[in-house]
């Protein structure tokens, strides 16, 4: 009797496991159905909405960069721009009119032919729908005109030196099929014109891509690609170790990356990404309206501790808002404050009347999940480094993203807080103007206003020569380090971990993974 009970209990625990394990051998392997083994990429990101007029997140943009294409495109692995759906273009002397000669004979995956009126229709649709990313078009484009079937002109509101960068990276500028997308409505559609076409998409589970036979350019290295969506980075790591996925893309946790690197059984590839993190200081609220105090904080912040303690060296300390590796980047904060100088910080705090008995009390804010679960540790390390002066007392406060971004930044509730930035286009302008120009600085929390800064940024926006622009951006970075409305902290590195037989992974500052270049040996 007793034996029966015991064996029943054990049976229950083991039965399910073994049963399915045993059946495995009899059942036909799933791969038998397909002729070539697909490349399986895991990610913890998600597709929000497959409509270029609406989506405004990095992962969905990456998908559009694989199933669609812009008039121009980035040469993979570089920041050079090359012709995409347009075979060539010219710019008028005043920098206002861009004329594109389109490639002929192309069609979308639903059969709709690609021509100048499709380009016009697509861009105008983004403007008409006025959804999340529409400002990327609305701020620059005055009108789009069809010259002939394969020639289109885009007229700008003002000269914008980095306009080609927008066309190359931003899906709101990508031509879409008028048959697949309704004129006045947002819609998920899988019709594209890029290297891959979507075979199947199950939201939050998988996206299956197949080489698009009608694509004009080089054929993808792998015919079938499957994207598997994970909810949890730890699960994705285990799936990689088990061999369920070939590539673990964004975002493995820093501990896992380090650990996988040490194990040496996988390829771990890391490159500096265009993703930056920084502290924002609301310059309108006392006591931080005092520039000297802000400078004291800039002296005290310990970037290296964040990079080492929280991210195990998987991020790079950053001393400017313009990321490392981008033209015009200078280590402006390092020039002025060094890596860290506690004594100087104390000196400035003393100047402002603070002491160990009368410390500066700060409410320091962060948001706990939006930037990953490392965020509270980042905040804790900053608290520690500021309190090391002995003259600052930091109280950490947090709010969920919806509250943080929605209410508190807009209302100016938070005197000093953490924020992050993914670029909208690859140009120094995108790392400076939105934060430092008086017209936009309130939207991103600092409320900084300096006519000198506005002048530098405006001028750099119009100038077409890179040399002139570099000079202006360098001045802007030095002025930023002087006034300290923001304190850059670190720049994210992009990590991708693959099985050893995976080749062709190309990462660059656009942060978009090109699935069509990856293959398995």
């Amino acid at each position: 009797m007793k034996k029966i009970f015991l064996s029943l209990v054990l049976l229950c625990i083991v039965a399910g496991i073994l049963a399915s394990g045993c059946v495995e051998k009899k059942a036909p392997a799933p791969e038998k159905k397909v002729e070539e083994k697909p490349l399986i990429i895991g990610t913890t990101d998600k597709i929000t909405v497959l409509d270029p007029a609406k989506s405004y997140d990095f992962y969905t943009w990456e998908v559009f960069n694989n199933i669609g294409e812009g008039l121009l495109r980035y040469k993979p692995g570089t920041t050079d721009i090359e012709p995409g759906l347009a075979e060539s273009y010219t710019v008028s002397e005043d920098g206002l009119v861009y004329t594109f000669k389109l490639r002929k004979g192309l069609k979308f995956t639903d059969g709709t032919p690609f021509n100048a009126s499709v380009v016009k229709w697509s861009i105008e649709r983004v403007l008409r729908l006025n959804a999340d990313p529409s400002w990327l078009v609305e701020s620059f484009v005055d009108s789009v005109n069809v010259v002939d079937e394969y020639t289109v002109q885009i007229k700008l509101k003002k000269p914008v030196s980095y306009f080609p960068a927008l066309l190359a990276l931003d899906p709101p500028y990508y031509p879409v099929s008028p048959k697949a997308y309704p004129a006045n409505e947002i819609k998920d559609s899988t019709v594209g014109i890029g290297p891959y076409k979507v075979v199947k998409w199950v939201r939050d589970q998988e996206l299956i891509l197949e080489a698009n036979p009608d694509y004009y350019g080089e054929k993808p290295k792998t015919k079938k690609v499957v994207i598997k969506f994970y909810k949890d980075a730890a699960t994705m790591r285990l799936a990689l170790e088990k061999g369920e996925i070939d590539v673990a893309w964004r975002t493995l946790s820093p501990v896992d990356i380090k650990d996988l690197e040490e194990k040496g059984k996988f390829n771990v590839i890391g490159v500096p990404g265009g993703y930056i993190r920084y502290i924002v200081i609301n310059v309108e609220t006392p006591p931080l309206s005092n520039k000297t105090l802000r400078q004291a904080i800039a002296y005290a912040v310990d970037r290296k501790a964040i990079a080492d303690k929280v991210f195990y060296g998987t991020v790079e300390p950053l001393y400017s808002m313009v990321p490392i590796g981008m033209w015009s980047h200078i280590d402006a904060f390092k020039e002025k404050y060094g890596e860290r100088d506690l004594e100087k910080a104390k000196e400035l705090l003393k100047q402002c009347g603070y002491s160990e008995d009368n410390p500066l009390e700060l409410e320091f804010w962060y948001t706990p999940t939006h930037y990953g679960d490392t965020e509270k540790d980042v905040a804790a390390v900053i608290k520690e480094s500021l309190e090391e002066t002995g003259m600052i007392k930091v109280t950490l406060k947090s709010a969920e993203w919806a509250t943080y971004a929605a209410e508190y930044i807009a209302k100016g509730t938070m005197p000093i807080f953490l924020l992050g930035w993914y670029p909208d286009y690859i140009d120094p302008d995108n790392y400076l103007t939105p934060f430092l120009h008086s017209e936009y600085s309130a939207d991103l929390g600092s409320r900084y206003k300096n006519p000198e800064m506005d002048k530098l940024l405006e001028e750099a926006q119009i100038k077409l020569s890179k040399e002139e622009r570099t000079k202006l951006y360098e001045d802007a970075q030095r002025l930023l380090a002087e006034d300290v409305p923001l304190i850059p902290l670190f720049q994210g590195k992009l990590y991708i971990v693959t099985q050893t037989n995976v080749k062709g992974v190309t990462l660059d500052p656009t942060m978009m993974l090109r699935y069509y270049l990856i293959y398995k040996e």
């Binding site: 909810k231 699960t235 088990k242 929605a406």
Partner: protein, 337 residues
């Protein structure tokens, strides 16, 4: 049975005010909470005009009372509205995308937890105050206090990474998904006689449902044990033994059946808990279910989806507890409605 019919009708009618109160609370809490869906969607960069335009488009600029009655009349008509974010899909479509996954996980975990729980409970009571009893009591406490992500990961490491027997996450292998009929892969693959898909679905179900099932089995172990000890001491058990009935019949037919009513009550309650408690399991195993979906939508302040999902859950829980109550009547002849 006429009384049972009237009982069912009364219970169903009583569910209406309950769901209404729930909806009102959810509606108010979502709106009182700080945070704004429009800003959550557009982010901090968007200009003020665009924020206002979207607010108007979503109907969020109307007075609260209008919004409330709009929602209410919609739900009464069976229309859960559209999600506020991203593609603005109908809420019911979003629910139907995720609910079958949760239901499937819930059913399997439920079966595992009940079977393991009752068997260990019976074994524990039968071997009262012996080593086995202590062992199963300890099992009851330990499993009940296990942290799901930790335990899930241990199982993933053992059966996934080292033994390579079972998949780490997801619902089914790539390219294997059966034709959609009910959305429950196990049932759909059986209906379509797609056996490779059935095997794949069961393999994917094994770890998450074992994790959740084992964690929730502890409570049944303890409950069954307590009730069985009581029952096994009663005169009719001694009488049954005296008549020479086999022990198996004495324990399961006479003993367990009499100890079953409180266990059944717990099953009804636990089923509702399972639905909600699946969140952690779903995240650990990348299971595309309702729990993690609901959590995500709460952080985005997707009012309509959250309301719709919770009301949908409430309907479901009411239905399950009604079924449990009806089973009572069949199981225990003393219960009459």
């Amino acid at each position: 049975m006429a009384s049972l019919k009237s009982y069912i009708i009364t219970r169903t009618l009583l569910a209406i005010p309950m769901i209404l109160i729930l909806l009102t609370i959810v509606f108010l809490v979502m709106r009182v909470m700080p945070g704004d869906p429009v800003r959550a969607i557009l982010g901090a960069k968007a200009p003020a005009e665009q924020v206002e335009a979207l607010r108007e488009q979503l109907g969020l600029n109307k007075p609260l009372i209008y919004q409330y009655f709009d929602t209410l009349s919609g739900i009464l008509k069976g229309d859960f509205g559209r999600s506020l974010i991203w593609g603005r899909r109908p809420v019911i479509d979003e629910i139907m995308d995720h609910f079958p996954a949760t239901l499937e996980l819930t059913i399997f975990s439920f079966i595992i937890s009940v079977v393991i729980g009752i068997l260990t409970g019976v074994a524990s009571a039968y071997n009262y105050k012996t080593f086995k009893d202590y062992f199963f009591r300890l099992y009851g406490i330990v499993t009940y206090s296990l942290f799901i992500p930790w335990f899930g990961m241990i199982l993933q490491m053992i059966f996934g990474v080292y033994l390579k027997l079972l998949p780490i996450g997801g619902r089914i292998d790539v390219f294997m998904e059966p034709e959609k009929i009910t959305g429950l892969y196990v049932i759909d693959s059986l209906l379509t006689m797609n056996f490779p898909a059935l095997v794949s679905a069961l393999k994917h179900l094994a770890l998450p449902s074992l994790t959740l099932g084992i964690v929730l089995s502890g409570i049944y172990t303890r409950l069954t044990r307590a009730n069985m000890i009581e029952v096994l001491r009663q005169d009719f058990i001694t009488a049954a033994r005296a008549r020479g009935l086999p022990e198996k019949v004495v324990v399961f037919k006479h003993g367990l059946k009499n100890a079953f009513i409180p266990i059944l009550t717990m099953m009804g309650l636990q089923f509702a808990l399972l639905l909600a408690g699946a969140v952690l399991t779903e995240t650990t195993f990348s299971w595309p279910g309702m729990g993690s979906f609901l959590l995500e939508r709460i952080t985005y302040r997707d009012f309509t989806t959250v309301q719709g999902t919770i009301v949908f859950f409430a309907f479901f829980v009411v239905l399950v507890s009604l079924i449990v109550d009806i089973i009572y009547a069949f199981l225990d002849p003393r219960i009459r409605y």
